[in-house]
Point group: C2
Chain length 313, copies 2
Amino acid sequence: MKLNNRVTELLRIKYPIIQAGMVWVSGWRLASAVSNCGGLGLIGSGSMKPDLLREHIQKCKGATDKSFGVNIPLLRADVEDLIDVVIDEKIKIIFSSAGSPAKYIEKFKAHNCTVVHVVSSIKHGLKAQSVGCDAVVGEGVEAGGHNGADEITTFALIPQLADALNIPVIAAGGIADGRGVLAALVLGAEGVQIGTRFAVTNESSASENYKKAVCESGDNGTTLVLKKIGMARMLKNEFSKKAIELENSCGSIEELSKLLGSKRERLGIFEGDNIEGMMEAGQGSGLIENVISVKELFDELISDFEKRKREMM
Amino acid sequence: MKLNNRVTELLRIKYPIIQAGMVWVSGWRLASAVSNCGGLGLIGSGSMKPDLLREHIQKCKGATDKSFGVNIPLLRADVEDLIDVVIDEKIKIIFSSAGSPAKYIEKFKAHNCTVVHVVSSIKHGLKAQSVGCDAVVGEGVEAGGHNGADEITTFALIPQLADALNIPVIAAGGIADGRGVLAALVLGAEGVQIGTRFAVTNESSASENYKKAVCESGDNGTTLVLKKIGMARMLKNEFSKKAIELENSCGSIEELSKLLGSKRERLGIFEGDNIEGMMEAGQGSGLIENVISVKELFDELISDFEKRKREMM
């Protein structure tokens, strides 16, 4: 695997493979395992209160001496508190998402943080670059969880972002094996962010039911719902079916919000309710067949990448 | 460019690059130019009556001594007449779409035709393989025109199809340059089908307004509308806006069909009405900046492919 590029240098990692920060999935155990394998582990603060985030950061420091980071969804009401924790804990790599980095970048930069912002269009990529982000994650609509309104796919987004930006682009969405890593680099990315495949490892804190449901899903196992109140891609189940029915019958924002309720992600991903829970997952799910360790996954990703590269020569 | 694989052998072409059969775009002029450059040109019969199709086939034979084919949308009311024309004209390469090939494959095979069916899911890929198709086009949701209901993207679909099928997979959707061709092959395709980029060449019969509109569109210039009555991806304009408004206000199938009316594709693509016409185009539009000749496009595709391949070593 091509070892030295702007992303590996920026993030001080051996392989340009980043594990996405995922709610209820990526605590210290997953993040440290990924960093120990030479990728970048990210603690997903989206499902953590500030004190819990601090605990995960401290445990992660104890479990790896390698570089790791924290993903912060900027639309969180208590985002300032999360930011205070990461700065206090001297975290130097921030992946920001769901919101604009403009308001917070100065604070991060004053503490020598590398800031990578998740975008799903050229417009937001240029904005992130202009305010001083060091790189972007370009996330295609095949990715699990929340998605951009324009529904641009990884295959279309990555080359356009790479052409438009001077800062490095990390590809996300639909990447679950070594072929996907190589294809993303061919399209112009200098690294990949992988979500669902890392969610289905031993070290992920997702429930066994969630991992099983991903392994059993096929190519058409996910759906994009709740477009009016913050679109997300998830495994199809009773909840997603009800949400689609309500959307198709022109349910109001109030009705959709009521149906969604609170803690659906926790119910699905962490508690494993595969009927009423929201089990966020990407279209790469169809490529995932088993629960393995992070070490086994890295070995597979790298050997598949090298094999595919040789075959393409 | 890797020259010899199952797709180049099957279709008797130099480069595994297929020009999509597109309504109002791909007549004999475009198809013969593509075949003369070493790719596979396809006459798009979707916008032709049987007699016009025969005229285009005969003109194409006069313009190239290379292999070319015809795309046939199987849901056409007069599909039997179209099939009679291609068999009578001894066309040996058929790309079928929009419908099931099961009903017609015996007739094609009795006349020694190679049949490639367009699919957008593993289920339909396996079906095409089981009835005797020689290859499939796996079309991601970023492609222009009609799309599969599951909205699976090229990046997710191609490796899954390649794993599931024994027959070769040709990738379509979002491919507009040499990087895209190489990435598609990395993902497991043995060829690519390119639509919108070929629609924006001198030899395409699309209107100048259509070509200009694609060149001026950006990464978010297309939208997927009319999901209830045959979903299609098109450039955003007044018509697509009205269609989306009607969908969002729960318009009935009757109301949607009335809004669509007839000849919207002709109005947009062929007559160049970029307000009320339907201008079908894929998300690769954002990568297209100029109208060039088919020869120039082939030179670009191949040199970009080779360049990217060298860079990846």
